[in-house]
């Protein structure tokens, strides 16, 4: 005799204010198969879980229905609960009476009726549940970190320190990311290079870290514990083993006037280059687009001066496939392109620059050796205007979201202007000042009080140029909402705090490796509060600004968290898999193969089946065994999406835990 226990949760008042929980629990008692029913304020809490376990023991329950929040929230919690209560964890059904009922309805009686239906369905389904055994898969003890910015470096170091091997893939010639371009860091004003470059060195010298520079992840196959990753090593035309990093090739390269990406195009680099002097690895690459040899077929000066014979013009992209147990995605961000702002000159005004460009201008190793000079004529600007929220919090042109770091770095920039140019003026146009971090508010106030940075509350409606040569200035026209007046500010240079946004190829990359992304193309975490570094794809974790705008402290913290998750996974020799997978009824399978292309995880393939009659092998008229092809599901790869089951013409495929019989029982229970 099947015995179902029904447990109705109030979720504080989340559910109980729109659903009569007591009535619901009472009504559930009358349902067929239900042996026990009760309600409680917080079913997920310790007393709530104890209540379930005690009821299982006391009433001899063999299956459980919990009417509470979405299964995405607490299904795992309750599975563990009944597991420790002595039941198979899959003898559980969740009736979602919060997200799908109480939160979206207001009429209490109607909502209670609907919650009743949902419980009905769950009871009908749970009566058909079977015990599902977990299987185990081996875990390959090697981790991949994609992206060599501060997030990737930190995650790699943290994983490597626990003894597991890590590969750090970076698409640029050097690791370091955006942080390597930054001059100083708020709120302590440490020099960015001084805190980043030692970490870069640590990563390069760590016995458990292999840096794979100038490479991109092409493909991710496999599944948690066993990802088969294809990495494209881009042709660098320099043999990194032979190269000693002497730099003579860069020095002698005749094509020197190429805008440097690292310098935000404010400086130049040669065609054979290493992005910056502290690059790691400090091995140059040839920029094929701009190389004289590749353009004209003549030159090869770099090859001639190279004492190590490391230049190889025949170099080609190379694909390598490596198996990993876990992946950390730390692909970072890019900056909003302010040329979309027509009123700020569409990017045509040379002296209207982005925050990152300003970082290069104040950076001691930057194109101006740390002297703030405006790009148009290399003179020292006296009046510098900063505009915040360019592309952030702007539904019309940019993004809805706040980029989080801009208030602080703008405060830093303005302070630096006042510090470096004594007779200067720094004026910041702002919408709000957001300083939610340790010592952040104090940092901003120091800028105002000690350095005399001026804050004007209002948006800038237009920037236009006036005058020529030395007298050229920018007029910043905006509103001072505290005065209720339009203001016009003469500026020598304007710095825009442009929004942080995902890498341009973020969405494509997410699809390639099989993780989800949000409406802004930032990668989605599994749960915004409780699983902030996991993705919904098991074994793939997130670190840094690829998940959402973040400053350096938050990025480092998240990278550490992702590393902890990776280590937890790699520390197991084998891991339990979800038994909710597709199953083939070989008696029914006609071998049509329609399920094979439909499977997004490539988990289904053909297998030969030898026919048996009454338990013994069937022999055909020609004296051979009778064989036929049937579908076979690889449980390690199957993610239980169910796409194959609806496509099966013979009805031979069923998803365990969601069998056709179970779903029909749910539907039938409504009538």
């Amino acid at each position: 005799m099947k015995k179902v226990g029904v447990f109705v949760c109030h979720c504080g008042t989340n559910i109980s204010q729109t659903v009569h929980c007591e009535k619901l629990a009472e009504a559930a008692k009358t349902l067929p198969g239900v042996a026990f029913s009760t309600e409680y304020k917080y079913m997920c809490s310790d007393p709530g879980q104890t209540m379930i376990k005690e009821a299982i023991a006391e009433h001899g329950l063999d299956r459980v229905v919990v009417a509470a929040c979405s299964p995405r929230m607490h299904e795992t919690t309750f599975r563990k609960c009944i597991d420790s209560g002595g039941l198979n964890p899959y003898m559980l059904e969740i009736a979602n009476i919060r997200e799908q009922c109480s939160w979206v309805h207001s009429d209490k009686d109607k909502a209670t009726a609907k919650a009743g239906d949902l419980v009905n369905m769950a009871v009908a389904k749970v009566l058909k549940n079977e015990q599902l055994p977990s299987s185990f898969i081996p875990v390959h003890k090697r981790a991949l970190v994609i992206g060599g910015g501060i997030a990737g470096i930190q995650a790699a170091l943290d994983i490597a320190d626990t003894g597991y091997h890590v590969d750090l893939v970076e698409r640029e010639p050097s690791i370091g990311g955006k942080m390597a371009q930054i001059d100083k860091t708020f709120p302590t004003m440490d020099c960015s290079a001084c805190i980043l470059t030692p970490k870069m060195v640590d990563a390069s010298q760590h016995p458990n870290i292999t840096i794979i520079p100038y490479s991109e992840v092409e493909k991710v196959d496999g599944y948690v514990g066993n990802f088969d990753v294809t990495i494209r090593r881009k042709a660098s035309y320099v043999d990194s083993v032979k190269c000693t990093g002497c730099g003579l090739c860069s020095e002698k390269c005749p094509s020197k006037k190429i805008p440097s990406e690292f310098e935000c195009n404010l400086g130049t680099r040669p065609a054979i280059y290493s992005p910056f002097p502290q690059a790691i690895p400090n091995k140059p690459v040839i920029d094929r687009e701009n190389c004289r040899y590749f353009k004209t077929g003549k030159c090869k000066i770099c090859a001639r001066v190279c004492t190590a014979d490391a230049v190889n013009f025949e170099d080609q992209d190379e694909m390598v496939q490596i198996r990993y147990g876990a992946i950390v995605v730390a692909t970072g961000y890019t900056l909003y392109d302010h040329s979309q702002y027509g009123e700020y000159g569409y990017g045509h005004y040379k002296d209207v620059i982005s925050g990152l460009e300003f970082e290069r201008l104040v950076n001691a190793s930057g194109p101006t050796m740390g002297k703030i000079k405006r790009p148009s004529d290399n003179t020292e600007p006296k009046n510098v205007v900063f505009i915040k929220c360019v592309g952030s919090r702007d539904k019309a042109r940019g993004h809805d979201y706040c980029s989080r770091a801009c208030c602080m770095y703008t405060a830093k920039h303005a302070t630096m202007v006042r510090d470096k140019i004594k007779d200067s003026q720094a004026i910041i146009f702002y919408m709000d000042i957001r300083t939610p971090g340790k010592n952040y508010e104090e940092f901003y106030l120091r800028g105002v009080e000690e350095y005399g940075v001026t804050y004007v509350r209002g948006r800038v409606s237009r920037i236009y140029e006036e005058g020529e040569g030395e007298n050229r200035k920018l007029i910043v026209q905006g509103e001072d909402t505290l005065l209720g007046k339009q203001v016009f500010v003469d500026a020598d240079m304007v710095v825009l705090a442009t929004a942080m946004e995902p890498q341009p190829d973020a969405a494509g990359f997410a699809r390639k490796i099989g993780i989800s992304y949000d409406q802004n193309n930032f990668f989605s975490e599994a749960h915004p509060k409780l699983r902030p570094v996991e993705t919904l794809s098991a074994g793939i974790y997130l670190a840094g600004a690829c998940q959402g705008p973040k400053d350096i402290p938050d990025t480092v913290a998240q990278a550490g968290a992702a590393a902890a998750k990776v280590v937890a996974l790699l520390s197991k020799d084998e891991m339990e898999t979800e038994p909710i997978v597709a199953k083939v009824d070989t008696d029914r399978c006609s071998g049509c193969g329609f399920c094979i292309p439909i499977c997004p995880y490539k988990a289904i393939s053909f297998t030969d089946l030898t026919e048996r009659v009454h338990g013994s092998v069937a022999w055909g008229p020609t004296g051979k065994e009778v064989k036929r092809q049937v579908a076979n599901v690889n449980n390690g790869l199957c993610q239980g999406c169910g796409a194959c089951t609806v496509n099966c013409r013979a009805g031979a495929l069923d998803l365990l835990g969601f069998t056709n019989e179970q779903i029909l029982a749910e539907v039938d229970s409504l009538w």
């Binding site: 027509g342 009123e343 569409y346 237009r462 236009y464 006036e466 007029i475």
Partner: protein, 326 residues
Amino acid sequence: MKYAYYPGCSLSGTGLEYNISTQAVAPLLGIELCELPDWSCCGASSAHLQDHTLALALPARNAALGEEQGLSLAIPCAACLSRSKAAEHAVKTSEDMRAQIESLIDRPYQATYPVKSILEIFIDAGLDTLKENIIKPLTGLKVASYYGCLQARPTDFMDVDDPENPQTIDTIVAALGAEPVSWSHKTECCGNSHPIAYPEVGGPLVNRILEQAEKSGADCIVCACPMCLGNLDMRQKALGKKRGRPFNLPVFYFTQLMGLALNLRPKKLGLKKHFISPIPLLSKKDLLKRIKIKKVKNKPADTPVPASESTETPTPNPDNKKGGPA
């Protein structure tokens, strides 16, 4: 192309020269403008401060009259245009609003024929057609194209190439052989009616535009709105006095410059109706040359339009001559 011409109130008053120059130029480019019979006020800047639905119904009535004839409205005035496009947008996006408007104007209105500005119509007619008809290129004339607010905004329903840096007038100016200057205040507000009601608010707005046009090195300003022209032209004297240095920036309607390049007589273009006379500038740039001003002066009344007309007008002979204002 045939259009139902909707001059609106301004074009029989302050914007008279816009009216006559538009009507003089259009036929030369194969555009037929038939004045919409029984047209009524668009509501301009007053109606939408009072009643939203009424403010949409007023221009909708005119567009509906055009629709009855199977014609798009051709609108020179930017305010009329803005209101008419707002009505068109409302009818297209809300069935409910369409029903309300139809009951107010007592006739159906489906917005099947798009409301167009004269500027759009000239652009649609093709810059090549315009270039072919140019007899006297406006070489050496530096022009600041001024669009004001209503030609470029709101982007929801104004079909504009770029709300921050529109180019339509500039392309016409360039086609005429003049030099459009790049400047910053193309779409800044001229103050609308504020220079009249609140000179302390409106004055500085006009002043800013004039100063920027001056700094850009332009000889003159060209616009497509009677209100803008009124403000920029009429206020120069007072504002010049206030700043202690006179302004001397003639302000044209773009149709006047077109007429000039198409070799029409200044009088036909209303060139003498400006507060800041463009005649000295045009003489200096040698752009009045082919026009026999003396001959015109000799005749006291210009109504008969004798044979001299046909000799002066360039190649395509206009078949309808709706010379003067309504």
